[in-house]
Symmetry: C2
């Protein structure tokens, strides 16, 4: 169903792996629809890979560049040169944006070029557009996200089957949900890069990758998941970016990634498998949750195409940050705490005393096991991390405690429905 052949819009493609190939197929398939929308027919005007294509030729012959190479070098150089030449760029490169975003956005603004990056965060989940357009005027308090499909798949399988971390990782690798070297995903680094980008947009302040603290899922055991299910909790690798009031009354922010338990009512608790999801909290809207498949070739290509079409229609630029909010490190969280003890009289009193000393109160509590080997699982009301760490040191030193206590954060439902 070919329509009238109007002007063409030339897209240069940097990278031709899974995403690049899927994008080339998608743009051919949807050319009629895009021409109807925009009046211009998109076409791939050149492809650059390690073995073919010339960057300068592609740049000169394109109206817009799509960068799906990944990594910082040479992607950064290419993107900077394109933006400096006033060419729009659509990228899926979270490493590049989380480490050099401020510079790239500056260059884009100075040259009247658009830099769009929906595909860098959240797979098909259009969180960048919702944050920057739907919620452009909103005061955002917090963003919670499951932004790494690999780790969500592993944790889902551990919970469903009782598999160990190693077995679930091996299954993810066999199914193509994890790389042969899974470090970037399982360490939380991939999610941290995405949360740096989301925090930049949510709070309109500069946030570099190095400002994000992250913990991975390598240390999670199937026991953690089994005990917690008894408390109605499910475990996710959660990225959080939130405002934190400082002592002088002004706002700071905290951006972090770590495993956390969620109560069944939380919008992210039911997000399973390799899906991604992001919840945005703001007083005026309460919350919006967006979920969908994590990054796959055609999913990422679809996000790229949405950005290309937007670049074909209206101008939009990421303005300079309005604020320079400080990073706050020691923030409160509820915790799940697991302690293995000899079941001797008085141990509960000792635990309660230690927690009380640190100003920590217990929300719920389960005891299991027999005389010589009892397991105490509890959920603690919110406490700043430094106090929790202090309590763990003290508990670890109590004679009846048989192993180092295990602590995992719990995300409590913030809003009643």
């Amino acid at each position: 169903m070919s329509e009238s052949s109007g002007a063409s819009f030339r897209v240069g493609l940097l990278g031709h792996g899974t995403v690049g190939a899927a994008f080339e197929a998608l743009i051919a398939d949807r050319a009629d629809a895009v021409e109807h929308l925009t009046g211009q027919r998109p076409e791939v005007s050149g492809v650059l890979t390690r073995s073919r294509g010339d960057f300068d030729e592609i740049l000169a012959s394109s109206d817009l560049l799509v960068e799906v190479m990944g990594g910082v070098d040479p992607a950064k150089d290419y993107v900077l040169r394109a933006l400096s030449a006033g060419k729009h760029v659509v990228t899926a490169n979270k490493q590049l944006l989380s480490r050099h975003g401020a510079e790239l956005w500056d260059v884009a603004r100075e040259n009247g070029a658009q830099l769009r990056f929906e595909a860098a965060v959240g797979g098909v989940v259009p969180v960048i557009r919702v944050l920057t357009e739907s919620l452009a005027g909103a005061h955002i308090e917090r963003v919670h996200g499951i932004v790494n499909g690999t780790t969500n798949f592993i944790l889902t399988r551990m919970a469903e089957t009782g598999a160990s971390y190693a077995a679930a990782l091996a299954e993810a690798q066999a199914l193509g949900f994890a790389e042969s070297d899974p470090t970037d995903d399982v360490s939380g680094a991939d999610a941290a890069a995405k949360m740096a980008i989301l925090a930049r947009l949510a709070f309109d302040t500069t946030v570099d990758f190095d400002a994000v603290r992250f913990e991975g899922i390598e240390g999670i055991t199937s026991d953690d998941l089994a005990y917690a299910q008894k408390l109605g909790l499910s475990l996710k690798l959660i990225g959080t970016a939130e405002r934190v009031p400082q002592d002088d009354g002004t706002d700071g922010i905290n951006v972090r990634v770590h495993p956390a338990f969620l109560y069944a009512g939380h919008p992210l608790a039911s997000v399973g498998g390799s899906f991604n999801a992001v919840t945005i909290e703001s007083p005026a809207i309460t919350e919006i949750t967006i979920s969908g498949p994590g990054a796959g070739g055609s999913q990422t290509a679809s996000a790229v195409l949405g950005d290309v079409i937007s670049a074909m229609i209206p101008p939009a630029s990421t303005p300079q940050p309005r604020h320079q909010l400080p990073i706050v490190e020691d923030v409160p969280s509820a915790y799940y705490l697991h302690v293995e003890v000899e079941d001797e009289p008085g141990v509960l009193a000792q635990l309660a005393q230690v927690l009380g000393l640190q100003g920590i109160s217990v929300k719920s509590f389960v005891q299991q096991g027999e005389a010589e080997h009892a397991q105490l699982s509890m959920v603690l009301h919110p406490v700043v991390e430094s106090r929790l760490r202090g309590a763990i040191e003290l508990i670890d030193g109590l004679p009846p405690v048989r192993a180092r206590p295990r602590a995992i954060r719990v995300i409590e439902e913030q809003f009643a429905e």
Copy 2:
């Protein structure tokens, strides 16, 4: 934190009920943020209510009109006059758009004015923007939505507490989730108007309110919910807009609203209380689900503000429909079927024979009750509605059947995670 006072952007406000008052407060609160983003400071330049304001004066002194009066008259006249004058309009008016959208979009396009309407569908859920921008180039197969908060609240309470429909409706009214005359919500008409708008955008074809078939929740009993919970199903009022292949191989569409059961794995199954949610299905992306609170004053005002900001920055218009897809009425669905019988030998064989005659097969089955009053609950594999209706007539005529069989559609999980 007032910034430099740049140019002002004048917003005329038509209507000053809950939403209008919330919008006026929100735009004052966020004026600094909007000025930073857009370079223009938004201000309310006039308010029209039944008792104050003059439309022509407000139109002349505004850069954009926000229409939150509701209803078709006089809103339609005002919106047409504004668009004809080349002024942008942001509206939350689903009745107006679902009945006269084609005319309004034409006038907007002809006059280079923007008509934005995120607040008309889904409360804070930014489904309009995601459909028209993120997925602008996507081939969309289906949209499923919980787009009415009142009915979702009532069904959630019936499921949670075993309350009757009448009792749950009374509770919703007492809490302000339902109007004193709830007809528009509980009949499905409100959801039908929203689905007409979503179908127009998803399929790029003209869809009028009259093309949407709708059933409400007035006939739902607490027994329906209790039996279905044993099958792992939850009941929602679901709006559906989907492509339906016709006999000649071309696409038709079907748009409808009715109560439907969802399996626990469906992304909409866990959406409780007065929340709204929409799932968009497309081959390239699998699916995106967006959820958030249904319409409330500040939520709707936030959606309006997002549209106002977008209108302040770039031009965008809804293009003329690309297709004229026919409406297809008789579409397949899985069904929950509940039959009350005297527990005599042979009744199951009779039922199986009737279903087999209609080409219907049974997916799962539960029998309860004693000799004189057995209840058979089953889930049927997908069947077109006409065949299901035929089977119900035949079953109703069987001597052992004690009451008219009850059928409720079941939405099956389409995609594995």
